[in-house]
Symmetry: C2
Subunit: 129 residues, 2 copies
DNA sequence: CATTAACTACGAAACTTTTCGTAAGAGTGT
DNA sequence: ACACTCTTACGAAAAGTTTCGTAGTTAATG
């Protein structure tokens, strides 16, 4: 049975994962074009990154076509959880409430978002009982 | 005028900053001892880290005593904001509400914490009007 | 005043991550 | 078959981070 260790993408890897989550399965060319919207980056650099990510099982690829098609191998949720946990322990000393309050304070949540958050809070309280 | 660029501590630097935030001004020895509670780390390694952090202005130091005394040069809040913003854009595509909900979902906020969060939400709504 | 202990400074090795150049294969058109 | 283009593979340079050994300084102690 293959071991399943927590994925810890580096910053660059995360950038690429975001493109794959947003755009779905993509060729190296497509990923590279997206990357280049933000910053200059050579084609083979992107290729190499994807190859490394493939070795690390961060992505899967379909080699049937001449241009391989890459796809994120992990869900965005999972990485969000991993990174959130890490931030929580390293920068917030484990206090989720502090983290949440900072996040709310620093952002401009819409009315709908506020509502959804409140509902979640109510639900947590209900479940608690 | 001195330039003020966003501090981006590395993981190890953040570990040391946490110790300084928690324990206040500390000698290399004290920091190293704290570090060693978690993992083996040579004295000169810690010293070097603090020296590098000093060059980067992540810490200040008092050289009056033979053992220099280091102190975090940035408030924990500031770093929290920087890292939260980064996480928000890189992993949550900018959706603070999603981040907040994940954080609430993954943690067990106490009754008091829930209350504080609700109050903050109410306040945001009030200010909105 | 020599020895030892507690420090700092600093270069450089070891590791990790990112970037890129070059080679080679495969398909297309002449 | 030849040249041209698009693509992958891969080694290795470049850049960034972490760890540590060694040398030198200061202060205290016999």
């Amino acid at each position: 049975m293959a071991k399943k260790l927590t994925p810890r993408p580096t910053d660059s890897e995360l950038e690429i994962l975001r493109i794959l989550w947003e755009n779905g399965a993509s060729t190296v060319k497509a990923v590279n074009e997206k990357l280049n919207e933000k910053k200059e980056s050579g084609y083979t650099t992107t290729l190499k990154m994807l190859q490394i990510m493939y070795e690390k099982n961060l992505v899967v690829r379909d080699e049937n076509e001449r241009s391989h098609v890459y796809k994120a191998a992990i869900k965005q949720d999972e990485i969000q959880k991993v990174l959130l946990d890490k931030l929580l322990t390293t920068a917030f000393s484990g206090s989720a409430a502090n983290l949440v309050m900072q996040a709310l304070g620093n952002s401009q949540p819409s009315k709908e978002e506020l509502k959804k958050i409140k509902e979640l809070l109510n639900q947590i309280e209900r479940d608690r009982k």
